[in-house]
């Protein structure tokens, strides 16, 4: 019991360490902007007063970190210790109060922007995961049961094609067929619920291919276990053996992959949301953040996406321990 709690605590402590590093890296990303961020945002025509005002409003006039190598009077770079009075501590202080700064362009709080877009991205990720599972389980079982046959080989090739076709090729083609030609589904935007179908399918295509391969190898492995022979000897139908006994055990590794793949979905959502104009975090990142050089929005989005990913991974890990007692013991 104690060892179990210790394991979970260790996992959580590690989580805090990784989140701290990720937030720190994202905070310092703005140092990478070539030249001066204020000029990059306001343009060359901005007056020195405007630039100074912009810098002081967003804290860009303050030192970026605890120490730095500023150019001294003699023209050389010298190590200088700034102490606690720096942008890094400002950023942390604000984050702990739920404040991600204000947009460089619209002055809106970044936290509010993210809050309004976040549900769209989560809905898209979950919908595509659901679609992927619905496609992958039957296909994976069929391939696994008929291992080595033409059906199996055909499904393997199909899965590889699904992995290789990028979303920005599948997406516009789906728009062309279902929204432009057939006019069955919404193509661009989020007016009603039908608008989620095409982006969710686009985003889930690669995942369903990966899952199909996993379910297949899982089924093949489990079919060789003694309990399958027992179940068959009891006279259970093949359907019951596969769907009740084999799948139950075979899906455990698939659950782990799902947790890890949520991150891939969140990152893939950036591209999918751009294709379909789906108003989630990805669209916020690409159209409001990157395209307009609104660096505080970019930072906020990157933080939101990566912390969601880290949390999902940790939850999966804990869930996996709970699902598979073999891991709990060791």
């Amino acid at each position: 019991m104690n060892r179990k709690i210790f394991g979970v605590l260790r996992r959580l402590g590690f989580l805090v360490l990784v989140v701290w590093t990720v937030v720190s890296l994202v905070t310092l990303l703005i140092e990478l902007v070539p030249g001066d961020p204020a000029t990059a945002v306001l343009g060359d025509q901005a007056t020195p007063e405007q630039l100074a005002q912009f810098r002081s409003k967003h804290g860009l006039d303050r030192p970026p970190f605890f120490f730095g190598l500023p150019v001294a009077e003699d023209g050389h770079r010298r190590f200088h210790w700034y102490g606690l009075d720096n942008r890094y501590t400002d950023y942390w202080r604000a984050i702990l109060h739920g404040d991600l700064g204000t947009s460089f362009r619209t002055e809106q709080p970044v936290f509010d922007l993210i809050k309004s877009r976040y549900p769209y991205t989560i809905a898209l990720a979950l919908a595509s995961m659901a679609i992927a599972i619905c496609i992958a389980i039957p296909l994976g079982v069929i391939a696994g049961k008929n291992r080595g046959t033409t059906t199996d080989n055909g499904l393997s090739v199909l899965a590889l094609i699904g992995i290789s076709l990028p979303s920005f090729v599948i997406g516009p083609m789906l728009v062309y067929v279902f929204a432009v030609k057939l006019r069955w589904l919404g193509g661009y935007g989020s007016e009603n619920w039908t608008f989620i179908i095409l982006p969710a399918f686009t985003l889930g295509a690669a995942l369903s291919a990966i899952l199909t391969r996993m379910v297949r190898s899982s089924v093949i492995e489990e079919l060789g276990e003694p309990y399958v022979r027992t179940a068959r000897a009891k006279g259970l139908s093949e359907r019951t053996v596969v769907y009740k006994h084999v799948l139950k055990n075979g899906l455990i590794p698939v659950v782990t992959i799902l947790g890890l793949q949520l991150g891939v979905l969140l990152a893939g959502a950036i591209i999918t949301e751009k294709i379909f104009g789906w108003p989630g975090l990805g669209l916020l990142l690409v159209e409001d953040g990157i395209a307009k050089r609104d660096y505080s929005v970019v930072q906020g989005c990157v933080l939101a996406i990566s912390t969601t990913y880290i949390l999902a991974n940790t939850l999966t890990d804990l869930l996996y321990r709970w699902l598979d007692p073999r891991i709990r013991v060791s």
Partner: protein, 271 residues
Amino acid sequence: MNRLGIIGIVVVVLFVLVALLAPFIATHDVGATDLLLRYAPPSAEHWFGTDSTGRDIFSRVVFGARISLEVGIVVVVVSAFFGTIVGAIAGYYGGWVDRFLSGYIFNVFLAFPGLLLAIALVAFLGAGLNKLIFALCIIGWVGYARLIRAQVLKVREYDFVNAARALGAGDLRILAVHILPNAIQPLIVQASLGMAGAVLSEASLSFLGLGVPPPAPSWGVMIEEARDLSTLQAAPHALIFPGLAIALTVLAFNFIGDGLREYLDPRQRRR
């Protein structure tokens, strides 16, 4: 190697030839616009048709192979090189070095899902081919490092390593001469899959406007330019041909990776 792997090799050889011989294969100037011939369907003159400004899509796809190949090779070589060094250090020395590298550093880099870190880096650095390659290397090396670490952990326990140590070989010699050559096999598989990943990532970032800026004929840029509704309706081929080029290239490298994996792992070959 299985049949799909052979197909993959053939396609990749073709892809490399097209990239190297692009100036001789292309039928038109990649930048030459012809506003009288916008959205032309495929014909004897323009094999893949023309795009929204009347540029020849075939020639652009051919030159696009150059960008993909360049990004793919540089990213894979640089990431594999640094990944191997870091992974070998973590696996060979173990202890706190390994805990710091594989327990902490690897996980920080893996904490950014997929392309997000590359997108963030290019967003702050500014778009461009070199910055894109840099960003893809930053996210790419960890995969190789993890792989090599696991391999080295296994190989360093073999008797011939102990024998070498007993003979007085130094750490560097043991790593370079005895361990790495025996640990490198899966790296070939990873590199092949890595080429697929790099080609796909380059197209993705260029599609997002973060890669090679237009009018360069990157496949991702071509798709971005072809996906608005008016172009889709007038000239779906402007999307289909660069899309096919990406899909075929990525598929071919994946076929090779999968084929090699099976070939190198006799347990899988029987399946």
